[in-house]
């Protein structure tokens, strides 16, 4: 009871933080029909600035970090990425009106990581004065890539099974048709129904998916930042530029995320209601599982409580920048309205506005 009231107090206080304030402001503004818009170029530049800053911080820190300490959290990050997709595969995908490919893609997106949620988590942690290992930035790809790869592999297995069934039926059918001189009509003007036999027995190659992820703009910026932080002396630009602008740019990004969440809600309404349920519950559950794993590292290797929160936030977050295009290419038959809608309209706001305060509150309860 005490914990709950404590949590509620903290929660209400955090709503007043600029990070959450701008997020909510964006939701409200877009819902009221505001024509406020942050130009696409500004949005992209802000995302670049945030990720390179997080990377620089991490890279500078890794220089002094004990690599062995990083091992366990990294392993847990990989495990979480894979686990989240399997959880989705066996819950969301089994629900009525949820197409299996759509469900897998959604789980993949929730397993992957959002740079902006991540940045929001770090800022809120700092706002509470909770220390954490800055090298946790390096955990991002360890969860992001396995989640996307697992989702694409699972979807591919599912699809080729399906195709197998379909083709055995189809073959029989088409023989009949041809003898009957009947040409399948959907070959004509509509774009559906092209034969894809060449795809039917393709193997999923994993390296291209990993490469695709690493080359994406989000992971590229983060890794570039880590490399520059590790190998060069970026202190002068870090302190005069990337660091002081961080919070402000993050607040603008939160505004965009808020407006976007409101704008995408409509899209989500067109797909099964279960996506909404999943999108509310999943981030919290994923974060709590990761919190638990993080506590193991806390007891075993002294991983800080702040670091545990970061791990939970990464798990709770769902990818917004690099995930969607990778999934779109990897699972083309999945409906992006389902997974992007679930993630952007609900998953991200829930992770930021409920998840982060929750994990911080638990850490404080445990720590103090």
């Amino acid at each position: 009871m005490d914990f709950l009231s404590d949590f509620l107090m903290r929660f209400l206080a955090q709503l007043q933080s600029p990070t959450l304030g701008f997020l909510i402001g964006g939701v409200v503004a877009a819902s009221l029909g505001s024509r406020l818009a942050i130009p696409d170029a500004a949005y992209k530049f802000i995302v670049f600035m945030l990720l390179i800053k997080v990377g620089l911080t991490g890279g500078q820190e890794i220089r002094n970090a004990n690599l062995v300490e990083m091992l366990l959290p990294a392993v847990f990050a990989v495990a979480m990425g894979i686990l989240i997709v399997f959880i989705g595969r066996h819950t969301l995908c089994k629900l009525p009106n949820v197409k299996v490919e759509d469900g897998i893609a959604t789980a993949g997106l929730f397993g992957a990581v959002s740079g902006s949620t991540f940045a929001a988590g770090l800022t809120l942690l700092e706002g509470q004065g909770i220390p954490y290992e800055a090298w946790t930035a390096a955990l991002y790809p360890f969860m992001d890539i396995p989640a996307l790869v697992t989702a694409i592999v699972l979807a591919s297995i599912y699809t080729s099974n399906q195709r197998h069934k379909y083709f055995s039926k189809e073959e029989a059918l088409s023989k009949q048709l041809v003898t009957a001189g009947d040409y399948p009509s959907d070959q004509s003007i509509t774009a559906h129904g092209y034969p894809k036999s060449d795809l039917a027995d393709r193997k999923v190659r994993i390296w291209p998916i990993v490469k695709e992820s690493l080359q994406g703009s989000a992971l590229s910026a983060l890794l570039l930042g880590i490399a520059l932080g590790l190998l060069t002396q970026p202190e002068s630009v870090y302190e005069s530029f990337f660091d002081p602008l961080f919070r402000g740019l993050l607040s603008v990004l939160m505004l965009v995320m808020g407006m976007e969440a409101a704008a995408r809600l409509g899209e989500l309404r067109k797909v099964a209601q279960w996506y909404t349920v999943y999108a509310v519950v999943a981030p919290l559950v994923h974060g709590l599982i990761a919190f638990g794993l993080g506590m193991i590292a806390h007891y075993l290797t002294g991983f800080s409580l702040g670091g545990v929160v970061v791990l939970a936030v990464i798990a709770a977050s769902s990818s917004d920048i690099s995930g969607p295009p990778t999934l779109r290419a990897g699972i083309p038959s999945a409906n992006p309205s389902a997974y992007i809608g679930a993630s952007t309209a609900i998953g991200t706001p829930v992770a930021i506005a409920l998840g982060i305060p929750l994990y911080i509150a638990i850490a404080q309860a445990l720590g103090g």
Partner: protein
């Protein structure tokens, strides 16, 4: 002196930009022109996570002049076969009366 041609127009999602360019190249077309476009169709699938509030032009429109109807149809069929099951898109053919000046056609 001038030359009759077909113009193939393909409007589809921005993520396919490079893949479609490759198909056009491989079909032997002498070139193509591409512009950013917005649009509405029966699907309106959006493939990118980029905010709709900032990015209103999520389609691309290709225009390819081809010397023969066949090449245009070949490109169009290849694009449709590979992508139109899963992605938004439309393809149509116009008549070009004359190619007046080109470096290679």
């Amino acid at each position: 002196m001038t030359q009759h041609a077909s113009k193939l127009v393909i409007v589809t999602e921005k993520v396919l930009l490079k893949k479609i360019a490759k198909i056009i190249d491989e079909a032997g077309a002498t070139g193509y022109t591409v512009v950013e476009a917005g649009g509405k169709g029966s699907r309106n699938v959006r493939s990118s996570g980029r905010p709709t509030v900032s990015d209103t032009y999520s389609n691309v429109k290709f225009e390819v002049l081809t010397p023969s109807r066949e090449m245009a149809v070949k490109i169009s069929d290849a694009v449709a076969a590979q992508f139109f099951d899963d992605y938004s898109g439309i393809a149509y053919l116009c008549d070009v009366m004359e190619v007046l000046h080109a470096h290679q056609f």
